[in-house]
């Protein structure tokens, strides 16, 4: 086999010499080797490739991006490869570029044929060219677009979504045009002349100068939704996503991956919520996990299992809130859920069997044994917010480990949402860490953030860097209040940026535990230029939405 990584790789030419090109796209458990040879902030696919390339005898790479150029530089120091080549890939598709690329193909043919001791097989080449075309489905489908996606991640996406999923990422949409009819009669030079043009005419990836041809990916009439993948430290596809978001009405979910095994919780939440928003009538109804046979008809509950607290709300058929509980989640989601259930049962003097339906939401929703169904917190927050105040168009939810922005239409349906990635900046955890550094509790953080005198700015986005900045400010004798105000502004800036990316508009509602922090609220209101609607119990919005779904869907 010969490993390759870019769709512009002349795989058909390699097969014509008896080669077996294999796409190197796997995940790695860690990047210890790659980071020791390069840098932690190199594109995660490039780091995975360095590690996989160092275990591969033969490898062909394209001059496709800065990270892969440097990956080649690193791999070329490894003398174990029997074949290793970097091809110069033009950014253009003009006549001069095609001629340059043809010369590269001729050089590759000489080098690869020489290394294998095989001759070019015209038949194998033409068969390979004809086989490389993969037509899109004629039934409704979803596409994964953007940067390459690892097989385990693609598998997870396919399992979570209700429609067939097609991989149209930068390494997955390799549609080579069919060879010309007289290809059998062309000499090798003429064949390479055609092949050079055919490769450069494929639907372009984002490193090419003209990307107009990418519209073909999203113009298919059966395309019903897009999961847009970006790879950590690969910048190309965030730009494509920004343009696509402006230009298409097709629903899009943006995710970020890093070529390491994904923690499935948050990603599953996003995919499920996306699926719910695409096909509400066919949303992921789960088989009740522990449906009791004899339930009373009057009580419906929603339980929101978050990273810090588990919140539960009970309503009746008139949608009146009868009881609620907010308890610490603790180490296991089911323990927190059990405590919340016991608390509402105590308030209502009923047994757990009294509930007609219990809808679970939040990151721990799948681990609540007494829930009758699950729904993501995105959909539940939207439902809860619309119930509490139908005027709301954007929800800002800042919880312990997640921050989210959810946009609603006039009917309360989710039109867009975004969540923070694997980063604590802008979440409740960030505030908790900073409170620990300042040796304050969260109530003190909330109060003292309002009495600032000096308008300090915490410039670091990273939680770890911000902590060291706070330590420096403490050493410089700045007051706690001024430092807290700087931290509040930092969270507000991060959140306002998310609102802007989601194209959120007022009126705004803030939910989640951080909505209790008056300093953060004030800083966010200043950034958004508008007051936030906050209920007396901002933690309960998701649970209220879940309870409403329990009532409506039971």
């Amino acid at each position: 086999m010969i490993g390759y990584t870019c769709k512009y790789t002349p795989a058909e030419l390699l097969r014509a010499f008896g080669g077996d090109p294999v796409l190197l796209d796997g995940e790695e458990a860690d990047f210890e080797l790659a980071e020791s040879l390069t840098h932690a902030n190199l594109c995660c696919h490039a780091k995975a490739l360095i590690q996989q390339g160092s275990r591969t005898d033969a490898l062909i790479m394209m001059d496709c991006c800065d990270s892969l150029r440097r990956s080649y530089d690193v791999l070329s120091l490894d003398s174990r490869h029997t074949f290793l080549k970097l091809m110069d890939l033009p950014h253009e598709n003009g006549q001069c570029a095609r001629e340059r690329f043809k010369q590269e193909l001729l050089r590759l043919a000489a080098a690869y044929g020489g290394s294998r001791g095989t001759d070019f097989s015209r038949d194998a080449f033409l068969v390979a060219c004809r086989e490389s075309s993969q037509p899109l489905p004629n039934e409704p489908f979803l596409a994964v677009l953007g940067a390459r996606v690892s097989p385990p991640l693609l598998d997870l996406i396919q399992k979570q979504l209700a429609l067939p999923v097609v991989n149209l990422t930068c390494s997955g949409n390799r549609n080579l045009e069919a060879p010309p009819q007289d290809a059998e009669n062309m000499d090798f030079d003429q064949l390479m002349d055609w092949y050079s043009g055919a490769l450069l005419r494929m639907i372009p990836c984002m490193r090419m100068t003209s990307v107009a041809g990418r519209k073909e990916l999203t113009n298919h009439p059966q395309l019903k939704g897009i999961v847009y993948n970006t790879v950590k430290f690969c910048d190309f596809y965030s730009f494509d996503y920004a343009a696509l978001k402006r230009e298409t009405a097709i629903p899009i979910l943006k995710i970020e991956s890093d070529y390491m095994p994904q923690p499935s919780g948050q990603l599953s939440t996003r995919l499920e919520a996306f699926s719910e928003s695409l096909l509400p009538e066919r949303s992921h109804r789960r088989t009740p996990m522990n449906k009791t046979t004899e339930r009373a008809a009057s009580l419906y509950a929603g339980i929101d299992s978050g990273s810090t607290t588990t919140n539960m709300v009970v309503i009746n058929e008139k949608k009146e809130i009868l009881a609620s509980a907010i308890v610490r989640t603790g180490a296991k989601a089911q323990n927190g859920a059990k405590a919340a259930l016991e608390e509402v049962c105590r308030q209502l003097s009923v047994q757990p069997e009294a509930f007609a339906a219990i809808m679970a939401t939040g990151y721990g929703r799948s681990n609540i044994p007494f829930a009758t169904d699950t729904k993501t917190e995105i959909t539940c927050h939207a439902r809860g917010a619309f119930f509490l105040n139908p005027a709301i168009r954007t929800i800002v939810d800042i919880g312990g480990q997640d921050s989210k922005v959810i946009c609603l239409d006039e009917n309360g349906a989710v039109t867009n949402f975004i969540m923070n990635d694997k980063c604590a900046a802008g979440t409740g955890r960030f505030l908790e860490m900073m409170a620990r550094t300042l040796e304050l509790d969260m109530d003190q953080m909330s109060r003292q953030g309002l009495t600032w005198k000096k308008d300090l700015t915490i410039s670091s986005m990273c939680t770890v860097f911000a902590e060291s900045e706070v330590i420096s400010l403490i050493a410089d004798n700045h007051t706690d209040s001024d430092i807290i105000h700087g931290l509040n502004k930092s969270i507000a800036a991060k959140t306002a940026s998310m609102v802007s990316r989601a194209k959120g508009t007022g009126p705004y509602m803030m939910t989640g535990g951080v909505a209790r922090n008056k300093g953060v609220v004030q800083a966010l209101e200043a950034r958004l230029g508008e007051n936030l609607y906050i209920t007396d119990a901002p933690d309960l919005c998701g649970a209220i939405g879940a309870a409403l779904f329990a009532l409506e869907e039971s």
Binding site: P90, V211, S459
Partner: protein
């Protein structure tokens, strides 16, 4: 950073969203003052020369803001002799990002770009320039022309800016290979750009003026080579801003008389400089410099413990320019840049320059988002140390304080100096 600059930056940050035109006026006023100050800097020392070229660069920014329809937006590696010969102003937004960072108002633009889906991991120079443009501060140029060198960010930022401004856009594709075929490939693209420029600015390129412009570049490069030859034996009070201005002078400003005059002054300054001071560690810097960062200035410019003796990208390509073959000369300069091709070429050049400058150690600056430099940092460290040059790989950001752990950087650079002092004690 001086208090009045912080005050100006604060005003700009607060009112940019509401009034980008006012921000542009404030920046123009500030950079006009830098230009005025540079014009009247007549001293023979190196700091006066820096002040002079800083003024010339700031003046070019002001002119491109005031006359955007006489300006073409370019990246820093674009060979601009064509523009100079046609009296077109280069508008170079990467340089504008560096100036904005030194005006203490970069944050508002970087945040605006991120809010518009520019990834956080993207090069901060490009992120900032997108923010400056999309906030409405940087006016729409006549057209945009960029090379694919030196990094992928060009392909993304300038395409986005062309869509934002709705102006014509040309990309000069620079092959990875460094050979005559590549030189002709690039020269042909530059030749094809000429009629496009003529049509847009409605005047003809005079071939004789182009030859004279390339002849000016040739003289400047020769002065620069001579300066570098003599730099090794002397001590100069170099600054990070000065090195960055040299970078701009040797790229977008090359072919202009100010650039030639500057290198001539630098050559005179180096000829008059005292011999290298024993005990003062000589640091060669790889990649761009965080000249906004006071803590780094304190160490590198004011501590008296060390001296910056050079920067690789300020002299990444100093080929023989032939005025009779202007297009090939411009193309050769880009193709032969050490930033093009494999990492080994750049590391070889760094080794050559660092040794010629009498460096005691090298700092490889890993600018946030620069995959080229991040990717070669460990290769450079291994190779340079094998050649007897202690090397520090330093993470930081050339213009965005949000990506910097200042205290960590200070500790690392000081520890590196202590290491060098220990070695040469």
């Amino acid at each position: 950073m001086k208090r009045y600059i912080e005050t100006l930056g604060g005003i700009i940050e607060k009112q940019t969203a509401a009034s980008p035109e006012h921000t542009r006026e404030l920046l123009e006023a500030a950079y006009s003052w830098v230009r005025f100050s540079g014009k009247h800097s007549h001293g023979k020392d190196v700091r006066s020369a820096y002040k002079y070229i800083n003024g010339a660069v700031a003046g070019t920014i002001v002119d491109s803001f005031r006359h955007p329809k006489e300006s073409v937006m370019v990246n820093i590696f674009f060979p601009c002799e064509l523009l100079h010969a046609m009296k077109i102003q280069p508008m170079f937004p990467e340089g504008i990002s560096a100036y904005v960072a030194c005006t203490a108002c970069q944050r508002v633009f970087a945040e605006a770009a991120e809010a518009a889906d520019v990834p956080e991991s993207f090069c901060s120079y490009h992120k900032t320039m997108l923010g400056v443009a999309e906030a409405g501060v940087m006016p729409a140029p006549l057209m945009i022309a960029n090379t694919t060198l030196a990094c992928d960010a060009n392909q993304l930022s300038f395409r986005r800016l062309a869509e934002f401004y709705q102006v014509p856009h040309t990309v000069i594709d620079i092959p990875h290979a460094n050979d005559e075929e590549a030189v002709h490939y690039v020269a042909d693209q530059l030749r094809a750009l000429t009629p496009q420029l003529e049509e847009l600015c409605r005047r003809r390129l005079d071939p004789q003026v182009l030859r004279e412009t390339v002849a000016c570049s040739k003289r400047t490069i020769e002065f620069c080579r001579e300066y570098l030859k003599k730099r090794g034996g002397v001590s100069l009070p170099a600054t990070m801003t000065g090195e960055l201005c040299t970078l701009i002078s040797n790229h977008v400003m090359l072919g202009r008389p100010e650039s030639e005059r500057y290198m001539q002054r630098m050559l005179r300054a180096v000829e008059a400089a005292p011999a290298a001071l024993p005990g003062k560690k000589r640091i060669f810097w790889m990649h761009i410099l965080p000249n906004w960062q006071d803590s780094m200035k304190d160490i590198l410019e004011a501590s008296g413990r060390c001296e910056l003796v050079g920067t690789d990208i300020a002299a990444d390509s100093l080929p023989d320019m032939d005025p009779d073959h202007p297009y090939e000369s411009m193309a050769r300069r880009v193709v032969e840049s050490m930033c093009n091709g494999p990492a080994g070429r750049r590391i070889d050049m760094v080794l050559h320059y660092a040794k010629a400058a009498g460096a005691d150690g090298v700092i490889v600056f890993c600018h946030w988002g620069c995959k080229q430099t991040l990717g070669l940092s460990q290769l450079a460290k291994q190779r340079l140390e094998a050649e007897g040059l202690p090397t520090l790989v330093l993470d930081g950001d050339g213009c965005d304080a949000r990506n910097v752990a200042d205290g960590q950087m200070v500790t690392r650079v000081n520890a590196f100096l202590e290491q060098l002092e220990g070695l040469h004690a």
